[in-house]
Symmetry: C2
Subunit: 205 residues, 2 copies
């Protein structure tokens, strides 16, 4: 079935939102931890984290300025740091609950039933129940003019990951870590390894 812009524009709003949100393919499910100037911990479910570079080690993510995630963006701007914590199968419901619009004064760790873990290198809490945890300092931000969203680039200052999840080639074994993916806004996906392929070369099919 083909949809041109006119057909997309007349889709019912919620259906269209879900449709477009699932068009990028599977998204990573991460919890972003921050602390406000007044010391309140904030936790947000973010599905827009993307790899930016390995040297220096950089990750990016996208924020909509006027959603529940504004607290997170404000905290990152004020404190200059944040954590990214992989969502695994054991904490899907708690992680999803972080997308609720809690009061700005609420400690979302307590609200959803997850535990903060202090980092010595970053004024932002890790999620104790997450297996792969990354602390970052804010590096730069870019405003997307087309829809006023904001891209944040962070530089990795610390990674916490069980040794047994790191494969010989360096890959974090996301399937064994029970890390999950997101389809659209609400559907969680299990990951299982199919195949690892060699570095591709033109003369080798």
């Amino acid at each position: 079935m083909k949809f041109d812009r006119a057909q997309l524009d007349i889709m019912p709003k919620r259906k269209r939102t879900n449709f477009i949100n699932s068009l990028s393919g599977v998204k990573s499910a991460n919890l972003v931890g921050t602390t406000s100037i007044s010391g309140i911990n904030n936790l947000a479910l973010i599905s827009s984290v993307f790899h930016v570079g390995a040297n220096p080690p950089l990750l990016g993510m996208l924020f909509r300025p006027h959603t529940v995630r504004r607290d997170t963006l404000e905290n990152i701007t004020a404190s200059g740091c944040f954590t990214i914590n992989h969502v695994n199968e054991q904490i899907i419901t708690q992680a999803h609950q972080c997308s609720a619009k809690y009061d700005a004064m609420a400690d979302e760790f307590a609200e959803v039933g997850l535990n903060p873990q202090i980092s010595s290198l970053c004024n932002a809490p890790y999620v104790q129940e997450s297996k792969v945890k990354i602390a970052l300092k804010l590096q730069e931000s870019h405003l997307i003019k087309a829809n006023d969203t904001q891209i944040i680039i962070g530089e990795i200052v610390e990674v916490i990951c069980p040794q047994e999840l790191i494969e010989d080639n360096g890959n974090v074994d996301l399937a064994s870590a029970n890390c999950v993916g997101l389809e659209g806004l609400d559907t969680y996906l299990k990951l299982s390894s199919i195949i690892r392929l060699q570095y591709a070369r033109p003369d080798k099919a």
Copy 2:
């Protein structure tokens, strides 16, 4: 196990690249189709596509300026358009082969054994073997100063997707479409649905 920046910096180069590349969590696997000014089709495996917004419908992706993907970036800049095509289990090896550094004059569809499909709305080829295909026009680009990578934002002009893959709520059923995810640079992941959760509200755990 904890890694601070000093410990990351002394990791063997390839291991470090794989490690950092898998830290964002699962990545979507997409083929980006473009056509050069001289009419040569190009196909690139891109794992950095991310959702930017539903209204207007926008997707973003990241390019490293000095890799094999430069052809793609140059074609997008020159033609103003490109396609994004989901990789499914049936075309993993062909898709992965697109990451090889072919000569600039090579038609990568022919090289890897995939077929171009013409779009009436966009001067860039779809991948016939892909089930979910999106045509976009270039909207804006941003240079990431931290590592000279470039973010491209595109506006969706057409979507081709089998009706049976679109769920009642609008989600594209990525698992039924056999769409795959990527871990790091080389490991392909199968997706299967775990649970769909309701819109989260503070008063409803």
